[in-house]
Amino acid sequence: MKIWLLRLPFRHLKEHPGRSLLGILSIALGTAVYLSIALASHSALQSFRAGVNAVAGKTQLRLQSPGTSLDETLLPTVRQLPPVRAAAPVLETMVEIRGQENFSALLLGVDPFVEGPFREYRFLTATGLDQETFLKFLTQPGWVMLSAPLAARLKLAPGDTFTAAVGARLQTLAVAGTFRTAGDLYPLDGALMLMDLGQAQEILDRIGRLDYLDLLVHGDLATAARQLREALPPGVEVTTPGAQAEYMQGLVAAYRLNLAVLSAIALFVGMFLIYQSVTLSVVRRRREIGLLRTLGMTRGQVMLLFLSEGALSGALGGLLGLVLGGAMAQAALQMVAQNLTSLYQPVSAREIWLEGQVFVQAWLLALAATLAASYIPAREASRTRVRAVWYKEELEEKLEKWAASSAYLGLLVLALAGVGAFLKSGHGIPWPAFVAAFLILLGFALFTPLTAWWLGRLLAAPSRRLFGFAGDMGCRYLSGSLSRTAVSIAALATALGLVIAVVAMIGSFRQTVENWVQKSISGDIFFGPAVFSTSSYDQFLPPEVLRELAQDPRIADLYHYRCVRLPFRDRYILVIGGSFDVLARHGGLWFRQGDQEETVAQARAQDRVLVTEPFAEIFGVREGEWLTLPTPSGPQRLQVAGVFYDYRTDGAAVWMDIKLFQKFWQDQKINAVRLFLHNKGQRHEVLSHLQQTYQSRYRLVALSHEDLKNGILRIFDETFALTYALEGVAILVAVFGIITTFLVLIMERERELALLQALGASRGQIMGMVLVESGLASFLSYLLGALAGSVLALLLILVINKQAFGWTIQVCLSPDVYWQTLLLVLALGLAAGAYPAWRAMQPHVATILKEE
């Protein structure tokens, strides 16, 4: 097409910027939201990855034993293996720095004499790392090297001391010196410290144990890995340092996808507005199109002309969105990092990683969205007859005829959505269900023309009785202006549907979690290190504390809890050891089928396991079936005694009696306990006693059942805060659509409104007419949105969550979200109509009616 002709869309845009502004702004907003979330997710993971890489240094391979630690006697054996060039033992744990602010830091227990080839620590000798201090670091407990950023943050110099919770104990640590890493890369925003390996083993009660062995190898990595696997005992995994980051990436894949889909909602709603904008442009320029065709422009060229108009809006909106998104990314990063820390692993990310690819992706998405939205009106424009004398009324008639076809198409689309809802993707992301969600929204949107037409007709008579002329005309305009109103109604309905669906899903989820907490979290007091921390699996209760608790006469039963994370098939699962005898007596698991007490007792007696519902759904395991579990004692074939509901984040878990666990894992450590008191009335007394007795010496948290429940729900609410924010943006875009639709409508009806005034209509009648129309349009948006949202909620609850996470969520549709949304929409809709109507009634009737 001649490039010269592209100046036409430019000219139109330049001469009527206001008409295109809404579409551009909506695309800009949608792009901004999508980009900010993408940047935040990417940055959070990149920060995590950078931290992992910083710790890994030049390590080529890593030996570890998932779910347990390595015996340090392995080290000399490994060093003598042919592929191994060098080996560095490491103990790794999270500590909590106590002071003016409490925060987490990574502690590495290392052998400083072998670290050199692996990790280059540039000790800042100017700050005084002398021989004496270095000896203290090697031989005396509690001496650490701080990273330079950490030292600066704590304002500490060599020789200073500070308090930290190391394991379960509060320790006073002394600063031997500070260091920088090569490239100044650190995990957790610089919060890194080093301790001599031997001292770390002692302070953490892990004498003779290692978390991993880092290796440098000869020759090819793959060959070396294979040789190592052949030589090493079973249970020792050969992996790469990057596997941890890959694991994290896999862990949060579903979370990121959900976030990406939600962040694209605003863009999706913006597509409706672009569609409307291009459609209006086509209607207004029918004569121009006829003229161009008369002069020889082909249909294809006409279509390209209008596609380019849409593309121009998309390109401009996308660019604006990139700027806005970059500005919003920092705020999004805080929320995302907090979510990831609460749900998965500690992630500290303060800076946005600007990745060009992410920007390009966002801009291309905006462009693709606008082209998709512009396609149908552009095709319509290309079909304009050359000699068409086109009245808007003819377009409306055409749309009325098409309304029924559109509704049938909507039914077909909903049927397809139903098919998609029943398909499974195999494993991982439930793509068919996500497509079904999109189809549900599209299907209901396709009902809009018919329902608008029908509602206007249905309510004309009662409106006339109630509101007179204003009511009658308002209804007529609703059903007679489909080319203007239908798309805006559809856009708002889509946004509302999404809001209702997500709120209903979250509400149902929350109610289910509340029920689960009531039924499953038995015990009067929970006691252990950092109960809510995602790093709590390597934190243990000190043995002396356990002994003291066992002797407390107020405690009737003590439930022991031990947890490890290990790879199982293509995922990671939790394996949990618990006191099944206590569980059988007091309850605490909500089984899918069977009696709780009987099932647990049976599991204990017959060395069977219990699995969570997510585990059963993800791995396709049912009650009575067998599974083979990798353990430090070798693979164990175990029968499933029962499946129970569980809503922890990493939900796929296998539970066994603590004795069985200790037999397989060959350690007696306990992560946490639940206390069952003889007298529940003594709960506060026991809580206070625990806090007073242990708080000063240990990092232990004692929570009542109520506190734990509230804590779980608090994390739940924080997790969904971002979701609510994204929903709010989508609603904002849709409301923009409604407001501008009515502004445009009123502007185009200026002549008719002036005529009505000339014929003797009062301002009240005209205002009433516009309010009836805008009120009905909003109400229709609400109706369609509520229906779509309810169906979508069922899909989210019964299909998507089930397939993605394996959770059964009880459907709980609260009426609150429905009536609150109705009030909001009606208020916004009436306001959207009132201002344009008021503008239209300013006294310039004659000017408007003057003959051209």
């Binding site: 009324e393 008719e752 000339a758 014929l759 009062s762 003959e851």
Partner: protein, 240 residues
């Protein structure tokens, strides 16, 4: 021929009718950028009750503005307009609305029918605005459609009928409330000669039957022949 007919009609109305509309020193000024445009300059005019007045003049002479100020569509910058002795400039918004609805009927050059309404509904609209129950208003509208020979088009939309038919519907709409005054702004401007002639004859007939006062702005000399009096305007002034 035109002048003879006009003179005859003028002679028939030998006794001057009491003025329905009186314009006293009416001036209307617009501001266009930094310039002031005087659309009407010190216009003084009496229009008798039942009189048919044609206003002629070149484009931009102020004809339509004159019509608009008489019809209460615009306010004046100076002077007074008296309708049945009442000063329009002192009317409240509500009074003006009632004046336009009950006392004035307007016919436009480009018909200005409501596109969403059928022909019969367009005609009934002023009655509905007045508060007449819709059934009654529609029945009355049908009787007016009979009078303008448009009954067969009652259920058509405006874009489905011809220009002449639209204008006849507009005339029926203008008269359904039996106003005292009919204002017509180039009513035949968008019609061919046949339809124009039909509309003008309709005007004349209804004017006689309803004892209407008509003020018609027109370029066409043929239209002016239907009037009792022809007023010429130039540069916002009435020519003697």
């Amino acid at each position: 021929m035109i002048q003879v007919q006009t003179a005859l009609r003028a002679a028939q109305k030998s006794a001057p009718a009491s003025p329905l509309i009186v314009l006293q020193g009416v001036t209307k000024t617009y501001r266009q950028g930094s310039e002031e445009v005087k659309a009407l300059q010190n216009v003084a005019l009496d229009i008798g009750d039942g009189e048919f007045v044609a206003v002629t003049g070149k484009s931009g002479c102020g004809k339509s503005t004159l019509l608009h100020v008489i019809g209460g569509l615009e306010s004046v910058s100076a002077g007074r307009i008296l309708f049945q002795g009442r000063d329009l400039s002192r009317f409240s918004e509500e009074q003006l609305t009632r004046y336009r609805r009950d006392q004035v009927g307007i016919v436009f050059q480009s018909f200005n029918l409501m596109p969403l309404l059928t022909i019969v509904e367009n005609v009934a609209l002023p009655q509905i605005l007045r508060g007449t129950p819709s059934q009654e208003a529609l029945q009355l509208a049908e009787s007016w459609l009979d009078r303008v020979n448009l009954r067969h088009r009652r259920d058509h939309k405006p874009h489905q009928v011809s220009g002449g038919e639209m204008q006849r519907a507009a005339v029926a709409r203008a008269l359904i409330n039996r106003p005292a005054l009919l204002l017509a702004d180039e009513p035949t401007g968008n019609l061919d000669s046949t339809h124009a002639s039909q509309v003008l004859q309709l005007f004349a007939e209804l004017q006689r039957q309803e004892h209407l006062t008509v003020v018609m702005v027109t370029h066409a000399l043929e239209a002016a022949q239907y009037a009792d009096r022809v007023i010429k305007m130039q540069d916002g002034r009435l020519l003697p």
